[in-house]
Amino acid sequence: MVWRYKLLLVFFVSAFVLILGRLFYWQVVRAQELVQIGDSQYGKFVKEIPIRGEIKTSDGFPIATNKINYLIVANPKEIVTDDIEKISRLLSPLISIDEATISASLSLDKFWVPIKYNITNEEKEKIEKLNLVGINFEDQINRFYPEASLAAKLVGFVGKDENGNNKGYFGIEGYYDRQLSGKVGLAKKIKDAHGRPILAKVDKNSAKIDGRNLILHIDRFAQYVLDDSLKRGIVKYGAQAASGIIMDPKSGGILAMSGYPSFNPGNYNEFSNDLYLNPMISSAYEPGSTFKPLIMAAAIDSKLVTVDTPCTICDKPIELGGFTIKTWNDTYQPNITMANVIRDSDNTGMVFVSKQLGLEKMHSYLKAYGIGDVTGIDLQGEMAPTIRPVDSWYPIDLATASFGQGISVTPIELISAFSSLANDGARMVPQVVDKVETPDNEVIDIAPVVADKPISARTASIMREMLVNAVKSGEAKWAAPKGYRVAGKTGTAQIPIEGHYDTNKTIASFIGFAPADDPKFLMLIVYDRPSTSIYGAETAAPTFFEVAKKLLAYYKIPPTE
């Protein structure tokens, strides 16, 4: 009898182990797969696309936001063949697509055929009134730029990546793409047996997170005035391109940045790709005389020259390494003082300064000014031409660099370096974004950053007076606003073409700040190859002062003289 009990015991134990094993297989080994199969039977996961963050100017106006457009889709399986012609005829004038193209789309053997993207709400309502069978609409969230091309090169645009998802390109849209994009969420939609939705558990970890808003330093008025002046200036002076930056020299905040010709970020694909680049941060040029104050400041800071130091080699053109260095008007002033070298933009005087300064010192000051390095501005696409190592400079390079030829910088590099003259010697990192606003309404401030302090406050003060004198008595004095102390310098740089400089093709520029004693703004205006006049004093300077006058009134700064 005992063996029977034992057999029964073995049988039950074996059966138990088998069941246990099977349960382990279903509940542990294949658990994940079964959960997915179960989920798919009563619900489905849907992607929740986050709302892209807005880009706002300092007054809170969104210069980049989102809007709803529609995609017209057809379901040809629902459309009777005899109706195709009628539907095509009715749709054609409303969506500006020829009848044949629509007819071809409606004849396809598919359930879903896109007919036209980016239909406005008004257009949608007109089409809906036609009650067309088989024609439907799908929502599309598109980027919307209410100020159209205003600051387009600064803002960038939103295009598509290789998977068809939205992605920011260039400027702020490109640099801050991750912050603006947010996080895609996964939501579970559960339905009952009749397909009706029922409450579903929301998993917090997979919830979507909307993009963050960016609040810029950009002042919408300053931006508009700069854009407007450059647009008119490019036509008035017959230039190939025009660009400008306005910066708060104390914080490094970019108040305006503009470049023409430009594009409309709302329909960027209708413009040439070349226009997407922001020349302010990605195009290098030889700055010409606008570079002189930086070198002069270096020499004064090193105590190698003073305001009254006479130039002992300025009585005639200078011969150096087989080249002849002349002044811009071919007139020479023996013993010209350093103050007047800046006022009269004397190239021979700057060669004198460079000789006093020497290569090692000039090189180290250039580094401290940030020349040859990116400024770190928060925009996509910044580049900076490097400066050669000390041992590869020839005496002629030292001489020409002193008056801004033979050395290349980007406009943002120059204005960042110049901020040290306007800000007691401290060079600021240019910043476009001032604050970041999270979806929870938390505001994160971005603090100003001092990049370096290339010169002392005393040197900056001396340079300020020299630059005020340059505006008051220099070539562009006729355009300066009366009663204001404005510090500034013109620049007319020849363009190197095929190994030589073309005297008729120049980059005309003006850089300066106002009010000189307590600068509210630092501005750089650049015209590429102006044709009505090649000089900065007759092209860039009038634009600079036109914008400056409006800004001084806007900031409610009264005249002091």
Binding site: L150, P197, I198, D228
Partner: protein
Amino acid sequence: MKKIIVVSFPLIFIVIALSIAHVIVSNMLSTTGVELDKLQTDLQVFQKENTFLREKVLVDTSFNSIASVAAEMGFVDSKSNVYLPEQIPLTRR
């Protein structure tokens, strides 16, 4: 036998009561989804309407629009600004 009845009746009553409660709660919850769906649809409609209105407001208040409307109305740039110097005291010693 009496003991069994004393124990069983409350148990049966509890089971029936809980079953009824389950049916009532399930019934209530089953319509919540539909209501929620309706609310979500309404919300989407209002959100859309707000987006369209906001778009219109932004376009109309953009500097480009204001400038063109101002130009049409005959406004021109002010060429000169008037500044009031520091206030002169009424009497001086």
